[in-house]
Amino acid sequence: MKTIASYSIKGGVGKTAFSVNMAYAAAEAGMRTLLVDLDPQGASSFYFRVRPSEKLKARGFFDRPASLEKNIRGSDYGRLDILPANLHYRKFDARLGLMQKPNSRLKKALKRLSRQYEVVILDCPPNIGLLSENVFVAADVIVVPVIPTTLSERTFVQLLKFFADANYPLDHIRAFFSMAQTNNRLHRDTMARMREKYPAFLDTVIPQSIDVERMGIMREPVLAYAPKHSGAQAYRKLCEELLTRTGMK
C-alpha cells in the first residue's frame, strides 16, 4: 500500500481538487483506492456526495480501528472508497497531544487497511501541527500544490525548512503548479524561477480552469464529468506522471 498526501500550509491552492482526481485516476488505473478526508470542512467527501461520518470522533479515528473501518463508504466508482470527514476532526491536534508517540498514530491507523487498498490518498487540512506531522510520517509521497505567486513560494520554502529542521525526508516532497494562468506573465516567470530552484516540481501544470471549479456544482471529479476537457486532461497527466515517478506504475 502506498500513501499519497495532498498537503499545503496554505488554503485554497487546489489540494482537494488534486486529491479527488488523483483518487479517481488511481482507481480507474485498476488500483484499489481509499481517499481519506482529513479536513474537518469535508470538501472531498462533499465532492463524492458522501455525508460526514458523524459517529467517527477524533478519538475513534486513532484508537478504534473497527470504528474507522465502519465509516468507510463505497464511492459511485469501482475500486474507490471514501473515508469522509466531520467537524470533530478539528480536535485532531488536541487529541493527538494526549497520546503516546503522537507523531505515528496515523501511520498505525492506516496500517490496518494495507490489505484492502493499494493506494491511500490523504486530503489534509491547511495548517502545520501535530496532524501534519502524522501525515509526514505516514505518507510515502507528499504532494504540494503551489500557485505560482510570491506568497505561495514563501509558504513552500517554509515547508522545506520545516522538513529539513525536523529531519523529515525531503525527497518525499513533490510539488506541482496549480491554478496557473499561462497568459499571466508573473505566473510564467515564477514557475520558471521555481523550477530552476526546486527539483521537487513535477512537469505537469494544472491550469486555472472553469471546468475544475464546476466540481462543486457537479459533485463529481472533473475526470468523471468532463474527461475530455483540458482541466481533466491535465489531472490525468499529472496523476500518471506522479505514479510513474514514484515507481507505482
Binding site: 463524492f48 456526495r49 458522501v50 455525508r51 465502519k70 468507510i72 463508504r73 463505497g74 459511485d76 472508497d81
Partner: protein, 519 residues
C-alpha cells in the same frame, strides 16, 4: 462473480417474462432507479467429450481474453482455481495452455481436447439506486443469458443486487422489497441453468460400458447385449474421428471393437457357427482399418519422449521422420474418415445388427442357452489357469514371444472380468482388476518397446535414400529401447510373482464363490 468488501452481491432468479413484467411495473417504478449502462458479453464454456471437467467439479470459461478455471459448487460456480490471459483462439489441449492452467488441466484432461459446450451471451442492464444526495447506495442489474447468439433463446434471467460499502442499511431495504415480490436468491450458474432448461445434463462416457447382468440370463442374450452396447459406444466416437478432435476418439473406438472381438473369441459357440464367423470377420476388418492410424497417433504423441531419449546433437535428426509420420497420419485419417461416411460402412453396421437380431430370435445353441453364470465360471477359471500356467514358466531369459503370449492371456482375462463384473462381488472384482493392472501395464510397456523397435527398424530400412544422421538417431533409439526392455523383462518376472500369490489365489476363489452386490 463479483465480490464486495462487506456483503456479497445477490442473484435473484426470475421465473419467466410474466414475473419480470410484474416486477418492472411495481418495484422498478417505485425505486429511484437510474439506468447507468448496458453491456453485452460473450462467455464460452469448455469441456471435453467425456465431460472430464464437469465430473471433476471444474468449469473452464472464457470471457474476452481471460480464461478462468473454477471449482463447481452444487449449482454454482465457486472460487477461481487458476486464470490466465490469452489472445487468439482458445487452446484445446492442456499442453497448449499457459502454465498455471496447464498444471491444473493436465491430470483432468490427459490426451483429451476441450470443445465449446455452451456459447452464452450475457446482456446486463445496469441500474443505480441513489439517495437524496444523488449518491449511489446500491447497484442492480437485470441479467439475461442467451444461448448460441446474442438474440438466441433465453436460458437464465436474474436480477443481481450489489451492495456498496458503508450503505448496508439501504441494501437491506432493497432486499426486503425484492423478497416481498416473492423473488428468491439463487447461486445458480449459467452452465447449470443451461442444462436445466435444455434438460440435457452431461452424460458420463466410458469406452467400456458397464452391463448389469443377471446370473440366469442366457449367455446368448448376454453376448448379443454386450456386443450391441460396445458397438453403440464405438459409434459415439465416430463424430470425434470425423472432426479429428483428439486421438482418444479413435482409441476408444478401437477399445470397443477389440472388446467385441475378445468376447466373440472367449464365448465361442454361444452364437451359431455361421453368425460367429461373420461377426468375427466383420469386426476384424473394422479393427484392421484403424491399426495404422493408431500407430501413427502413438508415434506422434511420443515425439517429445523420443527426442528426450537422444543426446541434444541428434535430436533434430528425427524431424524428417516425424514429418513423414504427420503426412502419413493425415492420409490415413482421410482414408478412415472416407470409410466411416461410406455406404459400405453403413451397410456393414446394418448387417451386423441384423445378424445379431436374427441370432437372438433363433433357438440358441447348446452353450448359448446356458445361464451366463455357468459360462462365466468356466471361462474365468480356464483363463485364470492359462495366465498362471504361462506366468510360472517365465524366467529372466524368456523369449519375447512368451511374454507376448502372457500379455494376450492377461488381456483376455481382463475382458472377461469386466464383462462379467456385475455377476460377482464388486469389491473382489475391483481388487483382482487392480492386481492385474500392475502386471498388464508392465507387459504393455514391454510390448510397445518391441513394436516400436521393429517399426523404427522397418522405417529406416525401407527408406530409398540413406541418411546417416537419421540412421544414428534410430540406432540410438533402438539401443536405448532394447536396454529398457531388458530391465522390464526382469520386472515382468518379479511382478508376476507378486501377482501369483496365495492372496491372489484366495481372492480369485472368493470371487468365484461370490454373489453380485444387492442393488
Amino acid at each position: 462473480m463479483k465480490k464486495s468488501h462487506h456483503r456479497q452481491a445477490l442473484q435473484w432468479r426470475l421465473a419467466d417474462a410474466e414475473q419480470l413484467k410484474a416486477l418492472r411495473e411495481s418495484l422498478l417504478e417505485s425505486l429511484p432507479l437510474d439506468k447507468i449502462g448496458e453491456t453485452s458479453r460473450h462467455i464460452l464454456f469448455y469441456d471435453s467429450f467425456p465431460w472430464q471437467l464437469w465430473f471433476a467439479n471444474r468449469v473452464l470459461y472464457r470471457e474476452d481474453d481471460r480464461l478462468c478455471l473454477c471449482r463447481l459448487g452444487k449449482t454454482s460456480i465457486a472460487e477461481v482455481i487458476a486464470e490466465a490471459d490469452i489472445s487468439g483462439p482458445s487452446p484445446r489441449f492442456w499442453w497448449e495452455f499457459p502454465d498455471a492452467l496447464a498444471e491444473q488441466l493436465k491430470p483432468l484432461l490427459k490426451l483429451r481436447a476441450l470443445m465449446p459446450v455452451l456459447h452464452g451471451y450475457r446482456i446486463s442492464q445496469q441500474y443505480a439506486i441513489r439517495n437524496e444526495d444523488r449518491k449511489i447506495v446500491a447497484r442492480l442489474s437485470l441479467e439475461t443469458w442467451h444461448r448460441d447468439r446474442r438474440a438466441g433463446p433465453v436460458f437464465l434471467q436474474a436480477l443481481v443486487t450489489e451492495p456498496l460499502r458503508g450503505y448496508e442499511a439501504e441494501f437491506r431495504a432493497l432486499i426486503r422489497q425484492l423478497a416481498a415480490h416473492r423473488l428468491k436468491t439463487t447461486d445458480i450458474s449459467p452452465l447449470h441453468a443451461h442444462f436445466e432448461t435444455s434438460g440435457q445434463w452431461p452424460d458420463p462416457f466410458s469406452a467400456k460400458p458397464a452391463l448389469r447382468l443377471s446370473p440366469t440370463q442366457s449367455s446368448r442374450d448376454v453376448l448379443c447385449t454386450a456386443i450391441r452396447a460396445s458397438l453403440q459406444t464405438a459409434r459415439k466416437c465416430e463424430p470425434g474421428i470425423l472432426d479429428d478432435i483428439d486421438t482418444e476418439f479413435l482409441h476408444d473406438y478401437r477399445v470397443s471393437i477389440r472388446s467385441i472381438r475378445a468376447m466373440l473369441g472367449q464365448l465361442c459357440g454361444v452364437l451359431p457357427q455361421e453368425t460367429e464367423t461373420r461377426l468375427k470377420k466383420a469386426f476384424a476388418d473394422l479393427g484392421s482399418r484403424t491399426n495404422r492410424l493408431r500407430d501413427l497417433d502413438v508415434y506422434l504423441l511420443e515425439e517429445p519422449r523420443y527426442r528426450a531419449m537422444l543426446p541434444a546433437r541428434l535430436q533434430d535428426a528425427l524431424s524428417g521422420m516425424f514429418e513423414d509420420f504427420r503426412k502419413q497420419r493425415n492420409a490415413e485419417l482421410k482414408k478412415l474418415q472416407r470409410f466411416l461416411v461410406s455406404k459400405t460402412y453403413t451397410h456393414r453396421i446394418q448387417q451386423i445388427e441384423s445378424w445379431l437380431e436374427k441370432a437372438s430370435q433363433e433357438t440358441p445353441t447348446k452353450p448359448g442357452g446356458q445361464p451366463i453364470i455357468d459360462i462365466a465360471h468356466k471361462r474365468l477359471r480356464k483363463q485364470y489357469r492359462k495366465v498362471t500356467k504361462l506366468g510360472r514358466e517365465l524366467h529372466q531369459h524368456t523369449e519375447d514371444e512368451a511374454i507376448h503370449q502372457l500379455r494376450l492371456k492377461c488381456k483376455k482375462l481382463r475382458y472377461l472380468l469386466e464383462l462379467f463384473a456385475s455377476l460377482f462381488e464388486p469389491q473382489a472384482v475391483k481388487q483382482l482388476l487392480k492386481a492385474l493392472r500392475k502386471l498388464q501395464n508392465t507387459l504393455g510397456e514391454f510390448n510397445d518397446l518391441s513394436v516400436q523397435q521393429e517399426s523404427l527398424h522397418d522405417y529406416y530400412t525401407q527408406r530409398r535414400q540413406p541418411d546417416p544422421r537419421l540412421g544414428l538417431a534410430i540406432g540410438a533409439l533402438i539401443g536405448s529401447m532394447h536396454q529398457q526392455q531388458t530391465i522390464i523383462r526382469q520386472q515382468v518376472v518379479e511382478l508376476f510373482d507378486h501377482f501369483d500369490t496365495r492372496a491372489t489365489r484366495k481372492l480369485f476363489d472368493r470371487l468365484m464363490h461370490s454373489e453380485p452386490a444387492s442393488s
